[in-house]
C-alpha cells in the first residue's frame, strides 16, 4: 500500500472511530437502520440486511399462525438478537393502547429488551402518524421504562415535545411510508435538527441512495428505511448503495460544503499562463 493510501485508510478509520451514532447510551458505527419487511424470503432478507451494514434492525410483532408451517424459519434465527440490535415496531397500531400493548409483548418476546420504535398511525392512505395518540403512548412507555424511538411527522414543535418527554430519538418522516418520494420538506427537517438534543433520524420516504445522502447532508443523525431497499429490483445491491449514500452524506455534512455561487471560479491559477 502506498503512503497516501495508508494515510487515507488511517483517516477513514479515525473518522469511523470518532463518528458514532449514540442512541440511549449505546454507540453504533452505522447510521443506516433498516426494516425487514417486504422481502421475497428469509434468505434475501438476511443478505440485504448484511449488505446494508445496519446494526439496528426493525421487526414487527404479529400473531403466530396457529398450526401453519411449524418448520418455517423464524426471523429471529436469521436476524439474531446476538448480532443485531433489534428494534420492535408498533406498525399497524392506530391507538396509544395498542402501541403500548405491542411494546410490552415485544419486551417479553425479546427477554426484557426495552428499545422500541413507536409509531401510532392515523390514516391508512397516508400512514401519517396520529400525533396525539403518539404523545400519549410515548408518555406511558417512557414511564414504563422503555427507550422510545418515535416516528412522527416533520412538525418541529411536536419533535421538540417528544424530545422533552424523554424519547431517545425522534424520527420525522421525509415523505409517506413506502412512497419513495424523497426528502419533501428539507426546511422542516432543518428546523427540527437545529433545535435537537437527541438523535434525529429520517424515518420513511427515502427512495434511492441520493435521497439518503441528502438527508444526511442536512445533518440528520441517521436514516431508517425499508421499502427503498426491499422494493428495489436488486434489494441486496440497493442495500449496499444505501450504506454508501448514508456514509457519503454524513462525510459531506462533516466536511462542510463549499459556498455555492452564481458565476464560475477558475480552479487553475491565472498566473503563469503562457498562451495568448
Amino acid at each position: 500500500m502506498s503512503t497516501v493510501a495508508a494515510e487515507t485508510k488511517k483517516t477513514e478509520q479515525a473518522n469511523q472511530v470518532q463518528d458514532k451514532l449514540i442512541i440511549a447510551g449505546k454507540s453504533y458505527g452505522s447510521r443506516l437502520l433498516v426494516g425487514t419487511g417486504k422481502y421475497k424470503d428469509m434468505a434475501q432478507t438476511q443478505k440485504a440486511i448484511e449488505a446494508s451494514g445496519a446494526e439496528i434492525v426493525t421487526v414487527a410483532i404479529r400473531r403466530t399462525n396457529i398450526g401453519q408451517n411449524p418448520d418455517e424459519p423464524n426471523l429471529l434465527d436469521v436476524i439474531s438478537p446476538e448480532d443485531y440490535t433489534l428494534l420492535p415496531n408498533t406498525a399497524g397500531c392506530y391507538t396509544a393502547d395498542d402501541a403500548v400493548r405491542t411494546c410490552r409483548l415485544a419486551r417479553e418476546l425479546l427477554d426484557g429488551h426495552d428499545l422500541v420504535k413507536l409509531e401510532v398511525l392515523g390514516d391508512e392512505k397516508t400512514l401519517f402518524p396520529d400525533v396525539i395518540q403518539t404523545l400519549q403512548a410515548a408518555e406511558t412507555l417512557i414511564k414504563d421504562g422503555f427507550k422510545v424511538m418515535v416516528y412522527t411527522n416533520d412538525d418541529p414543535l411536536v419533535a421538540k415535545q417528544l424530545e422533552e418527554m424523554g424519547c431517545v430519538a425522534v424520527m420525522p418522516l421525509a415523505a409517506p411510508i413506502g412512497s419513495g418520494l424523497g426528502i419533501r420538506n428539507p426546511h422542516n427537517i432543518r428546523f427540527i435538527l437545529e433545535d435537537a438534543n437527541v438523535p434525529i433520524l429520517v424515518d420513511a420516504g427515502v427512495g434511492t441512495a441520493s435521497d439518503a445522502a441528502i438527508a444526511m447532508e442536512l445533518g440528520c443523525d441517521g436514516i431508517l428505511m425499508n421499502t427503498a431497499i426491499a422494493a428495489a429490483r436488486d434489494p441486496v445491491l440497493m442495500a449496499s448503495a444505501m450504506k454508501k449514500g448514508v456514509a457519503a452524506g454524513r462525510e459531506a455534512f462533516l466536511a462542510g460544503r463549499m459556498q455555492a455561487r452564481r458565476y464560475a471560479s477558475a480552479s487553475s491559477p491565472i498566473e503563469g499562463t503562457f498562451t495568448s
Binding site: V34, G35, T36, G37, K38, Y39, T45, T58, V59, A60, I61, R62, R63, T64, I66, G67, P70, N74, L75, L76, L86, P88, N89, A91, R101, R104, L105, A106, E108, L109, L110, I177, G178, L224, M225, N226, T227
Partner: protein, 66 residues
C-alpha cells in the same frame, strides 16, 4: 372448556397449563410471547399458569417489518 387462541375457538382440557397448550401447538422452544386477556404471562410463569374457560390467549412472534 373452550378458549380463544389468536382469535380462534379451541377446546382444551380443564386446568390445562399454558406450557401444555404451547407444547400441543408446537410452540415449545420457539421465540414467542403470550398474553392472556391482555395481561402478559412471563415465560417463567407458563408452567404454573392454568387456563380458564373463555380465556383470550394471544401468541405473538417477530416477523419482517419496517
Amino acid at each position: 372448556m373452550n378458549i380463544y387462541l389468536n382469535g380462534k375457538v379451541i377446546h382444551v382440557a380443564d386446568s390445562t397449563t399454558l406450557t401444555e397448550l404451547l407444547l400441543e401447538m408446537d410452540y415449545s422452544g420457539k421465540r414467542i410471547a403470550v398474553e392472556i386477556n391482555q395481561e402478559i404471562i412471563p415465560r417463567s410463569e407458563h408452567n404454573t399458569h392454568r387456563l380458564k374457560s373463555d380465556d383470550r390467549v394471544e401468541v405473538v412472534h417477530a416477523i419482517g417489518g419496517g
